[in-house]
């Protein structure tokens, strides 16, 4: 509460602002705009990737000597992350029905899948045999996958908050805009991974 000598509307009243609103909730508008900026951020990173490939051509685009991308592990991680988008959405559908028990279950599963992805990515990094300083391939590989990983971590923090708030019974069928917002972000992170995976592993 931030009021005092100069009377200020209590911060707790923020939700009142929305009550006369129609259309998309304010929080969702904010999250979608934030995601738009994130799209441009990854757009910049992808630009560096393709610029690097164009600069290296006609030399072959491949990891530095002694290094090799682990296609199988990356495939498994991709499957894990895509599944987590589904489990996330099951959670959203559950809370839209007012089913808080299912929300907790699906959010928990999503969180575990996300952490599994991060652990797998760290393991992958330890096995690759090249680093960020080993030429342009290493630089763009670790930057793209690393910043995606950082966003997965950010999403995992969001999921943890959702899970904690769900445990305290803060969500209901009518009041769960935070769940929707985090789910949108999680789907976005998933889509970015599909783009990263397709670009780095499939577009060889």
């Amino acid at each position: 509460m931030t009021a005092g000598a100069a009377e200020i509307r209590p911060a707790g009243d923020d939700h009142l602002v929305e009550t006369h609103q129609t259309g998309m909730p304010t929080v969702m508008v904010g999250m979608l705009l934030f995601i738009a900026s994130e799209v441009m951020f990854f757009g910049g990173l992808f630009a560096t990737y393709f610029n690097a490939r164009a600069s290296v051509a006609p030399e072959p685009w491949e990891p530095p000597p002694g290094g090799e991308l682990d296609m199988a592990l990356a495939g498994v991680l991709t499957a894990i992350l895509i599944s987590s988008s589904f489990t996330m959405q099951f959670g959203v559908w559950a809370i839209r029905r007012g089913d808080t028990g299912k929300l907790k279950m699906w959010t928990g599963i999503t969180l575990v899948l996300g952490l599994l992805f991060l652990a797998g990515q760290l393991y992958d990094y330890s096995q690759l045999g090249f680093g960020i300083a080993d030429g342009i391939f290493g630089t763009v590989f670790y930057t793209l996958t690393g910043f995606h990983g950082a966003h997965v971590f950010g999403g995992a923090v969001g999921l943890t908050i959702i899970l904690a708030r769900a445990m305290q019974g803060q969500f209901s069928g009518r009041n769960h805009v935070a769940v929707e917002a985090v789910s949108i972000y999680w789907h976005f992170v998933d889509v970015v991974w599909i783009a990263v995976f397709s670009t780095i592993y499939l577009l060889r």
């Binding site: 509460m1 931030t2 009021a3 005092g4 000598a5 100069a6 009377e7 200020i8 509307r9 209590p10 911060a11 707790g12 009243d13 923020d14 602002v17 929305e18 609103q21 259309g23 304010t26 508008v29 904010g30 705009l33 934030f34 738009a36 900026s37 994130e38 441009m40 951020f41 990854f42 757009g43 910049g44 990173l45 630009a47 560096t48 610029n51 690097a52 600069s55 290296v56 030399e59 680093g131 960020i132 300083a133 030429g135 342009i136 391939f137 630089t139 763009v140 930057t143 910043f147």
Partner: protein, 555 residues
């Protein structure tokens, strides 16, 4: 009983004004914080400008060495752009936009506070290079490979990168907040095409910030990785590409020019109608011209890179020249507003008129630079410095001062002193032109930008001296401004709710407004609700298009 239940249970506590200002989430207080913070950085970067101009006043190295000089112009450019002009206009947007929309606050008050507090943090980080072996010294554009760790080993460049990334994040969060506010918080009746022009320009600006700034963040991160973790984004010896930095920087940097100028155009479009006693001529044309500038701004970045030989000249030249069309439309809007108006030459109006004249010069030199043959000739000369100062200083900064004189009464409840304001304007205006107009000629006669010294035989001495005198005149003009602000805060003429007989909703509430902004709102049937409230009663003078809009709103 009844009395206790009627009592608002807001849970308020009293606290000192220091804590109050440090923890506020009120958009008006945050707006004031933005503006005060911006002016502090303006004075710091202005002192650096005086240092630069003193060094250049006459040939020979006066009192700086080359490295200190490089740091001075780098910090001057970076601080002026990222910590003065953009945040100053953001501050006015923060204060004014919710009021003009009839909203109680921004959509996300706490994110609003966060996006402000990242600014001083970022600015101090950028400046702190001076404490750790020298600030960044590669120019505000930070061109690669000069920024590579082996050419710029100091930690100052890293602090510059981190500080800019923080300031950029602040901008992005602010943009999310502005757009959400504009789309979700408008008062009943405030349709998109009844929004004040300033709100429209803030909206387009916020979209540009939202989509352009993250690209710079990506580039800054790439640069940081190159410098600190052995990356090779911009290092051609291991497959990188130094031109990539220019693409990334200017993909952000050109929309950035419009991020800086559009809100200032919005300010001018608020000030001109009020002091011409006329509505803005061609409201919708202005709105669509603003949107067109926003769209075009993403397709012109490589006109900064004509001489690299790596860009398609006809396309970028053509697209750049296209921007002159919506900009020209705006010139017609402004001139049409002035035409047969009952002009009141207040200080705010003088700065707005100064904006139009100076921005016209900057715009014309801009179209000249869009032509590759001219650009090849004057690339990296003082002609470019002259152009950018006419746009940024003659344009945006004049807009900032117009906004200051125009909205100060609303923010403080007291008017600024008009005679003192006019003294400020005329010294400022003459000093500005004396400082920057000679730079056109210096550039055409070949003086490169970013040099600390020049030959006495080059024939550049007189114009450089004139420019230095002009720079000090600008500095002198700030003295009456500061005296004016302090004296008016203490003992200024009380402003009342609506000292200028304004058109827009911010004048419908008290000066300064209460924390919740409005006790009641006038009916909103046009883009000038307050004008129709004060002048429309008793006459059935609703214009046809107003009626049309009302029907549309009801439909």
């Amino acid at each position: 009983m009844a009395t206790t239940t009627l009592e608002p249970r807001s849970g308020t506590i009293r606290r000192s004004w220091v804590i109050e200002w440090l923890t506020t989430v009120d958009h008006k207080k945050i707006g004031v914080l933005y503006i005060v913070n911006s002016f502090l950085f303006f004075f710091a970067a202005g002192i650096l400008a005086l240092v630069i101009r003193s060094e250049l006043a006459v040939p020979g190295m006066q009192f700086l060495d080359h490295d200190t000089y490089n740091q001075a112009f780098t910090m001057h450019g970076t601080i002026m752009l990222f910590l003065f002009i953009i945040p100053a206009l953001s501050g006015f947007a923060n204060y004014i936009v919710p009021l003009q929309l009839g909203a109680p606050d921004m959509a996300f008050p706490r994110i609003n506070a966060l996006s402000f507090w990242l600014l001083p943090l970022g600015g101090i980080l950028i400046f702190s290079g001076y404490l750790f072996g020298g600030a960044a010294a590669e120019g505000w554009t930070g061109y690669s490979p000069l920024t590579a760790d082996r050419f710029s080993p100091g930690v100052g460049t890293d602090l510059w990168i981190i500080g800019l990334a923080l300031v950029g994040t602040a901008s992005i969060l602010g943009a999310v907040n502005s757009i959400t506010t504009i789309f979700k918080m408008r008062a009943p009746g405030m349709t998109l095409f009844r929004m004040p022009i300033f709100v429209w320009t803030v909206l387009v600006t916020a979209v540009l910030i939202l989509l352009a700034t993250p690209v710079l963040t990506a580039g800054l991160i790439a640069l940081f990785i190159d410098r600190n973790y052995g990356g090779s984004f911009f290092d051609p010896s291991v497959g990188g590409n130094p031109i990539l930095w220019q693409h990334i920087f200017w993909f952000f940097g050109h929309p950035e020019v419009y991020i800086v100028i559009l809100p200032a155009m919005g300010v001018v479009s608020e000030v001109l109608p009020v002091f011409s006693r006329k509505p803005l001529f061609g409201y919708k044309a202005f709105v669509f011209a603003t949107i067109a500038i926003g769209l075009l701004s993403f397709s012109v970045w490589a006109h900064h890179m004509f001489t690299t030989g790596a860009v398609f000249l006809p396309f970028f030249s053509f697209m750049t020249a296209l921007i002159a069309i919506p900009t020209g439309i705006k010139m017609f809007n402004w001139l049409g507003t002035l035409y047969r108006g009952k002009l009141m030459l207040t200080t705010a109006m003088l700065f707005a008129l100064g904006f139009i004249a100076m921005f016209l010069i900057g715009g014309i030199s801009g179209v000249m630079l869009a032509s590759p043959p001219i650009d090849f000739h004057v690339q990296d000369t003082y002609f470019v410095v002259a152009h950018l100062h006419y746009v940024f200083f003659g344009g945006s900064v004049f807009g900032v001062f117009a906004a200051t004189y125009y909205w100060f009464p609303k923010m403080s409840g007291r008017k600024l002193n008009e005679p003192l304001g006019k003294v400020h304007f005329w010294i400022h205006f003459i000093g500005f032109n004396l400082a920057f107009f000679p730079m056109h000629q210096l550039g055409l006669s070949g003086m490169p930008r970013r040099i600390a010294d020049y030959s006495p035989d080059a024939g550049w001495t007189v114009l450089n001296l004139a420019s230095t005198v002009g720079a000090f005149m600008i500095a002198v003009s700030i003295i009456p401004f500061l005296i004016n602000v302090v004296a008016s805060l203490i003992n200024g003429e009380p402003a009342g709710d609506d000292p200028w007989e304004g058109n827009t909703l911010e004048w419908a509430t008290t000066s300064p407004p209460p924390p919740y902004n409005f006790d009641r709102l006038p009916p909103i049937h046009s883009e000038r609700p307050l004008f129709f409230l004060t002048h429309g009663h008793g006459h059935a003078v609703a214009r046809d298009e107003d009626l049309d809009e009302t029907h549309e709103a009801q439909a």
